[in-house]
Subunit: 262 residues, 6 copies
Amino acid sequence: MPASIPGPVDSSDDIRLALRSWPEVERYLESCKGIIIPLGSTEQHGPTGAIGTDALTAEAVSLAVGRRSGVLVTPAQCFGMAEHHLDFAGTMSLQPATLLAVLHDLVLSLARHGFERVFVINGHGGNIATTKAAFAQAHGSAASRGLAVAPRLRCRLSNWFMAGPVMRQARELYADKEGQHATPSEIAVTLAVEPSLQSKQRALPDPAPSGPIHSPEDFRRRHPDGRMGSHPSLATADHGHSLLETAAAALSEDLQRFLSEA
Amino acid sequence: MPASIPGPVDSSDDIRLALRSWPEVERYLESCKGIIIPLGSTEQHGPTGAIGTDALTAEAVSLAVGRRSGVLVTPAQCFGMAEHHLDFAGTMSLQPATLLAVLHDLVLSLARHGFERVFVINGHGGNIATTKAAFAQAHGSAASRGLAVAPRLRCRLSNWFMAGPVMRQARELYADKEGQHATPSEIAVTLAVEPSLQSKQRALPDPAPSGPIHSPEDFRRRHPDGRMGSHPSLATADHGHSLLETAAAALSEDLQRFLSEA
Amino acid sequence: MPASIPGPVDSSDDIRLALRSWPEVERYLESCKGIIIPLGSTEQHGPTGAIGTDALTAEAVSLAVGRRSGVLVTPAQCFGMAEHHLDFAGTMSLQPATLLAVLHDLVLSLARHGFERVFVINGHGGNIATTKAAFAQAHGSAASRGLAVAPRLRCRLSNWFMAGPVMRQARELYADKEGQHATPSEIAVTLAVEPSLQSKQRALPDPAPSGPIHSPEDFRRRHPDGRMGSHPSLATADHGHSLLETAAAALSEDLQRFLSEA
Amino acid sequence: MPASIPGPVDSSDDIRLALRSWPEVERYLESCKGIIIPLGSTEQHGPTGAIGTDALTAEAVSLAVGRRSGVLVTPAQCFGMAEHHLDFAGTMSLQPATLLAVLHDLVLSLARHGFERVFVINGHGGNIATTKAAFAQAHGSAASRGLAVAPRLRCRLSNWFMAGPVMRQARELYADKEGQHATPSEIAVTLAVEPSLQSKQRALPDPAPSGPIHSPEDFRRRHPDGRMGSHPSLATADHGHSLLETAAAALSEDLQRFLSEA
Amino acid sequence: MPASIPGPVDSSDDIRLALRSWPEVERYLESCKGIIIPLGSTEQHGPTGAIGTDALTAEAVSLAVGRRSGVLVTPAQCFGMAEHHLDFAGTMSLQPATLLAVLHDLVLSLARHGFERVFVINGHGGNIATTKAAFAQAHGSAASRGLAVAPRLRCRLSNWFMAGPVMRQARELYADKEGQHATPSEIAVTLAVEPSLQSKQRALPDPAPSGPIHSPEDFRRRHPDGRMGSHPSLATADHGHSLLETAAAALSEDLQRFLSEA
Amino acid sequence: MPASIPGPVDSSDDIRLALRSWPEVERYLESCKGIIIPLGSTEQHGPTGAIGTDALTAEAVSLAVGRRSGVLVTPAQCFGMAEHHLDFAGTMSLQPATLLAVLHDLVLSLARHGFERVFVINGHGGNIATTKAAFAQAHGSAASRGLAVAPRLRCRLSNWFMAGPVMRQARELYADKEGQHATPSEIAVTLAVEPSLQSKQRALPDPAPSGPIHSPEDFRRRHPDGRMGSHPSLATADHGHSLLETAAAALSEDLQRFLSEA
């Protein structure tokens, strides 16, 4: 088994890399070669949703998976590829080439220490393409830099909102009102983890329908309030707690498979 | 209607950009703002498959779609992102950052001339992530360079092998022997368009199963002959002709929707 | 006055960009053009210090400054330029060229929305050079992209640990035992904001002296436990609360000057 | 002799890398370390010339050289550096830095497999500078990545239209009406390989004279129909067949020298 | 002692790398691993100062340090990061990312030959950030390229105008009329090394005060004649000779420490 | 006439940009839009030749052309693309992509001020390809940045050692002993401009013959002392003075044509 799993811990404090010292990480690596990177985005989420939604949710899911598995969780990369949201105030986007370099460098740093399984928990659809490209580039660099783990290095992208059980639950809760962006399911998770957001929710008119994504101008023209087919006012903090649990369970299994595959 | 469709032509010669003069393109742009870019890869396709499979198929599908629609088809970009196949002789791969730059530059060139709808017909799964990242980067550049079409520019990635009707037909023909790489469906199309390949096909032992893709070394270790769960010996040229027809029909509809959407 | 200051708020929730909706940001921009970006690093901080020290402190100071001023605080960029710490497990570093691109893209995103004063609160000396380089590059891009705010855009780097009052207090508290890396003053702030860290502190042998910083290997050879002349065991959570207050006061004044300068 | 030459083959099918399987390439490398890359461009070629001229000719010459020598021919890179033609509709150009990266990656891919002699047959003057720069960069990367062939790797750029015998024949056929761009000699080769082009040729007014090449706008101002001193209407398909033969003979000798030099 | 110091020489000709042959450099490396790179900038220096000031002074100081120590001096890199001066005619600036690449490549070239101590003598404040970033990037590349000297490679940035004795002397000579840009001390050095500049000096009105540096437009608006709080008309050639001597003495000591540190 | 020529000056001091103030450059631009950039390289020039040969000669020729024409001469860019010489101690090389960025940035800086004709006088064959690529990239940037001069911007590369009269004179002086690298003609110019070099010259054994250039290792293996077919011991300072005169005359004419062409 290339990478054993430490097992559940009581508190997020126990698995946050940010709270570890380097000798603790060195000891951790003696028994586990896996690590979790939360990847979010800082972008508009409709007229009532939090700009930090994708990072808040990615980090919450990551910490929940970390508590269940004992696998270390790095700080969140809160800025992702959100170019198409740039016409809405507050969106902060990395260009694809920049995000590619960020993820490349983070994977290479970890590989240098001996981490062999990098599990990225992602909260934003716009990051998927670039993250996969970054993994391919990182494999090339790990080999050309002659890192010892290069042949064993594996990266996996896990989008919490696309996990089967999460999508099923979202469908049960919201049916065709889930939509594609600023969805009630992701908003629900933010209500659970940041209670101050609850008071901001309110009924909204029907959203513009989902559709393909092109330039920022085109996006805003088609989706004037930033929503894509979604009814975030259906979200509740209770839903959020439950969805978080569902996501954590599903991704923990996914992580377990990833860490134990030959 | 932002972009009308010229309509069927008799011969591929009529829609190959390579055979047009610039005044012909200028006239074409008066009535149609759409164009097709075939995107392939040059990489191993198992012990009997052609290294050029992904480019041969992407170009064949593109030309068939071009003949049905009258939409111009650019030369194929035959080299794609195939880093994970680099441990097999003959594979030629662009790093993700390079392919991103290539597609960015091609889209920007076309946008400068007034093309508003760029339809990339892709033959290789490994290109998907990078192509999407390139589209986002191209939108940013089109705007920051002040191109007139920037707000109207749209790019669409269409993977012929993932079109619904193609996947259904592949399942009917090959069921669970289709696999993920060096599949009988793509090999069949190459047999149809390059008859010299037919004599190379032969029965093969059971392939290694499909699985996640990591480094080139890992890929070769898991898939020693390059196949991922596929039985390409089931492919015939007749299947290929039929699949090509299916793909052309499906993607022509997709293109029509793309060109006519508001 | 180019940018008025909103004034104190009760809770960090009120100034976290992550918890705002885009219409709220749009309204904010009507009266204030300033914003704070916390910039940290994820790197070894000696045998007892937290790997997240520089991000934890930068974020804590930023939120405190935000509460005093009412100026928005973006999510923290937790990964910085820490190449020279890469020989210690757990360090995650962006190459200088990558961090430059990240800060460039973040500044450009904000400038596009109309932010004119970007105040980066930094917790890591290794970020200083690259951040300044990024500002220069961002000014160039803002102009060449034709952004409306380009001539008014200003960026300021504020390193909380180098603020005069902070350095004076650190000297009073720790005299020549402050050192240069994994200092008691920064460790104290982490003890204040993350109480779980307190139990990890312990007496340590005398550290290697401070000195110039070269390659990762050279750094580890000269500073085998990661400290540079520092005695972090002197740190207490009480010190941390006080230092945080001192830093917040000093940087709030700095921010006020920055926002009100002609 | 570092690289033997396989010898003539009957059909292009026998030397197209696109039609090989990876085990065939592995076997090929046991006796020959050479390979041909056709490099073209997709750019305006005057009012009657095909936009694909430079790629069509480079590929035709490459395949002819391949048939004479038995040396493998990769798919053509059909997009090159054509920035100065971008004011004419249909031109698709890679920026110099992009083309540099493409050729770098292709050479590195081949070097990884053990190819030691990369022979680029080029159809476009605008590619020359960038290709040479790419070779230098590729040598550096091959060494820094520790590739086994690094000390033996050699790349050679062969511009078919500048081969001595080709230039002599063009002078005999067209004297001072050959010109510099959209020349009758290159147009003739396209008429030979793509007969559908023949019907488009017609008499043209005298062209603008050749001159230095600067910006796209300057180029179009000086050469309003895209020609530089050339009279492409003199071209015939017969000329094309003959010029192709001349080029193939000259470049085959050049290739032979390249493959056999110590 | 990792790097001995050759000792004083009579003439600049004896320590200019430009005047050495490669076998001479090979012999030099047998006893000394240190080398000096002069780094300047080509940018406006007020209404009477020379555009080349920063390169002229960096080179003059470097050669003086070279004569005192016998350490080789490379040609000057006369172009630096001067983006904020670009609104003044004659300024030639490298973008930060470009200067980073230049210094990276120069350090890597020297490291390949076995140089272990690279001492950059800099004449321009705007270069500092980028140079430090370049050093970090160079250390990473030296290691990933497997250079033998990688673990011993050290780079040091020495800004002659910020050396303690130089700043003291400038204060004595000019007190608060020294300013921050186009200072009398740097202008004095140019008068000493380029006598033709003396006749251009003249009394000037009071300068705009020093302040933070933002965009080129902002810089010119605040500092309409290019000076920042400086009175260059106080400069004399005699001052220049003396300041040059002071700088050479101070930096020679700094170099000596750098070369002899363990 | 797009750019008048100021006419001869007495001293190099009168045309060195480094010695101008920015208001002088502003006035210069009222009557002349041309400028000269000397481009060299810092690389081995055989067992007796100076490492700075290519920069020394490019600068000497540039200043001579400047004196004859009154056209401004910028500081020399002394580091060029010399990757293939990196196996000889003392060579300092910029990678092609770096040199491309340098020249791009320098041209853009000048274009911003209103310079329309950039005349690069180059002393090193290895720079040619990259310089041409940089010009193409610069034209693209000038347009996309919206610079006023973009449509009028022109760059010209003039290699002094390839000027017709220079090559004729070299042939007369040295016939087939001129060779390709470390040639007597370029060494002669260095003897004229740097008399200290004269005493280093001595008889040398027959050189390795010229040939194609590949990797640094290959270069050194083929040319063990760094010379390519050249007999630099034939060079004299008198030859150098005469060659310099010849080059200055030839390039002045070339410059005149460049500045006066429509």
